[in-house]
């Protein structure tokens, strides 16, 4: 009897041990309450529909945190960022990247033709690309993909580097990083923001660029009518539906091979194509200028068509002011050259040859790509106040 009791006790103990050995240790996390200047890096959480890519282009040394994104947002909108004192020389990212125009300058912004110029009036080599959904852009930034992790020039690899380039560029801020850093470091109110974002009150330009890059990566466009359609939350009008069919059919307008669609909600592959708009290629800043591959003459990034309603002028050189002009180009205006992408398979007949109704339908579909959440979300707008 005693033996059995002992045995039973032993079995119970073994059973309990085995049961409890299955449960995972739950780490006890320290909770900070009440100290608004303490470094407490909460990860920034994206809220995107399920059909968006799960892989994000975020450098390991600059993960997004709530405080880092907030600091970056403040710097993005702070006119003192360029390091100049006088108001007519001051610039910041938001001088040209306007939220209401999907973070391009648009045609209704500070530059009437939609082609930005720097503080001394020098035009940028190309028109703007939207600073939206860059967290999913995986194939190099800028029209020619120059900014890429594999770039042999270590200063031309990341969005952080682009922030630095914007400060120096004569066609942008025409400043330098010391000037920019000194201007921001002289503002006492920035110290606690850097402390919260990066656990230091020592302000460097590197940290400024990191913060701005975090904010830029946080800017996503994921709630257009098109997204709501994919989520079965809304229906297309007959014209929009016909336009969508034209967009995704090879015998229609065949936009989707380069510009995505229901299987690629980014509305671009982020690859580089010569889209048959020229016959002679002399731009030193085309894709060929980066790769040296002769097939890349006249090739440029396929920009996302999200919010294209808000982002004229179109093409790398801004040659088209309206979506109608763009549709007409793809319908009848293709120009043959040996460098045209093979995906421009209607090159021999000049384009897709859409009827006026088809053009109207295609445009109606393109307008469903406008994301009013992006253009009105306060989290992407100026901070409530500046330090």
């Amino acid at each position: 009897m005693k033996y059995l009791q002992k045995k039973l006790f032993l079995m119970l103990m073994v059973g309990i041990f085995m049961l409890t050995s299955c449960t995972k240790e739950i780490p006890i996390t320290e909770v900070y309450i009440g100290d608004s200047t303490k470094y407490d890096p909460k990860p920034y959480v994206f809220n995107t529909p399920w059909f968006f890519p799960t892989e994000m282009n975020i450098p390991a040394d600059n993960p997004l945190t709530v405080d880092g994104v907030f600091l970056g947002r403040t710097l993005f909108y702070d006119m003192r960022f360029s390091g100049y004192q006088s108001a007519d020389s001051q610039m910041c990212c938001a001088t040209c990247h306007l939220q209401e125009n999907a973070f391009e300058c648009g045609m209704n912004g500070p530059f009437p033709n939609g082609h930005p110029v720097g503080i001394t009036g020098i035009a940028t080599p190309h028109v703007m690309l939207p600073v939206v959904n860059l967290v999913w852009q995986n194939n190099g930034y800028l029209w020619n993909g120059l900014i890429h992790p594999d770039n042999p020039q270590v200063s031309k690899r990341t969005i952080e580097d682009v922030v630095c380039m914007a400060v120096y560029a004569p066609h942008e801020m025409l400043s330098d990083t010391n000037k920019a850093r000194n201007a921001i470091a002289a503002i006492p109110g920035y110290k606690p923001l850097f402390k919260k974002a990066f656990n230091t009150e020592t302000i460097t330009f590197k940290l400024m660029a990191k913060a701005v890059a975090q904010f830029i990566r946080s800017i996503v466009s994921v709630n257009s009518k098109f997204d709501q359609y994919l989520l079965h939350q809304t229906a297309f009008t007959p014209s929009e539906a016909n336009g969508f069919v034209l967009f995704v059919t090879e015998q229609g307008a065949d936009c989707f091979h380069c510009h995505g669609g229901d299987g690629n909600p980014l509305l671009t592959t982020y690859q580089f194509y010569n889209n048959a708009k020229d016959t002679i290629f002399t731009d030193p800043n085309d894709r060929y200028g980066v790769t040296g591959d002769p097939m890349d003459h006249g090739a440029y990034l396929a920009p996302s068509l999200r919010n294209c309603e808000l982002t004229p002028p179109y093409m790398h050189d801004g040659r088209y002011n309206t979506l109608d002009e763009v549709i007409n180009f793809y319908s009848e205006g293709l120009k043959p050259s040996p460098y045209a992408s093979p995906l421009m398979h209607k090159l021999a007949i000049g384009g897709a040859h859409l009827t006026p109704q088809q053009k109207a339908d295609l445009k109606a579909f393109l307008l469903t790509l406008t994301d009013h959440d992006l253009t009105s979300n306060p989290a992407y707008g100026p901070p409530p106040n500046f330090p």
Binding site: L19, C22, F256, M295, P336, A348
Partner: protein, 269 residues
């Protein structure tokens, strides 16, 4: 006393039920394993493909170049000489090959393969209806193979893009694509034009694909796509007749028929 016995049994049973390690059933499993890897090569006329170079002539006499080729193979099955079949587990169901991404030429299969001699290798070219579901690939490069839901959804099984000298002596483009086909009610493509879909994936059994798996060794099998065969037969392919296939099921059917001889085995080592 008796009740103690029952309690003991119950405790024992509970312990077994809740314990972490499941007892594996005792089965007769081979104890020796090796590995298999595949190298994907794209050839034309027996030589490695030279992309972007107008040097090839197909069976129809078209002077052509290939700019890129991208495709899926899936559900590889190895036939053992003892009559059993080996297929791969989760994570190794398919492979994406992209001529623009050299790293996709090599596929080291994670699964352990029982040692022994194997008589053949077969696979699905493309993706069957179970695998070919829209938005199963959310990230590039595979996501860039997406095939519009309107046209049947899922993914291109293959994109083979290039150019040829057309009858007017112009350099024209071809998009030799394969995926789900459609049947149409009428010629005008509008929202209600499509009446049905056709699965175009097909099974390839590689000729002369016998190989051996040795213990703790990796056997590497080179799978060669002989691109000229897509255009050779039984249907001689003339780009002047068809240069874009996606919405042309009769053309895609011919692609499928030509696909039977496209693949061969290169080196096995």
């Amino acid at each position: 006393m008796k009740s103690l016995k029952y309690i003991s049994i119950i405790v024992l049973l509970l312990t077994l039920m809740f314990s972490c390690k499941r007892e594996d059933p005792i089965v007769d499993i081979p104890v020796k394993y090796g590995n298999i890897g595949f190298q994907f090569a794209n050839n034309v006329d027996g030589q490695a493909l030279r992309v972007d170079t107008l040097v090839y002539t197909n069976a129809a006499g078209n002077n052509y170049m290939v700019n890129e080729v991208q495709y899926f193979v899936s559900d590889i099955v190895l036939q053992n000489s003892n009559g059993t079949f080996v297929s791969f587990g989760t994570g190794s169901e398919l492979h994406y090959m992209d001529s623009d991404l050299p790293e996709t030429s090599n596929w080291s299969v994670a699964d352990k393969i029982p040692v022994g001699s194997y008589t053949s290798i077969s696979f699905t070219f493309g993706l069957n209806e179970v695998r070919n579901i829209s938005n199963v690939f959310l990230n590039p490069p595979e996501s860039n193979m997406w095939w519009p839901l309107f046209l049947g959804g899922g993914y291109h099984y293959m994109k083979l893009n290039g150019k040829w000298i057309d009858t007017a002596s112009n350099l024209s483009a071809f998009n030799f694509h394969l995926g789900i086909g459609q049947t149409y009610a009428h010629d005008v493509i509008v929202v209600d034009s499509i009446t049905g879909f056709v699965q175009n994936y097909f099974t390839v059994t590689l000729p002369n694909s016998a190989f051996t798996i040795r213990e703790d060794k990796t056997t590497n099998v080179e799978i060669v796509m002989n691109i000229e065969k897509w255009f050779e037969g039984p249907n001689v392919w003339d780009f002047n007749v068809c240069s874009a296939t996606m919405q042309n099921q009769s053309a895609m059917q011919q692609v499928v028929e030509n696909g039977g001889t496209v693949f061969s085995v290169g080196t096995i080592q």
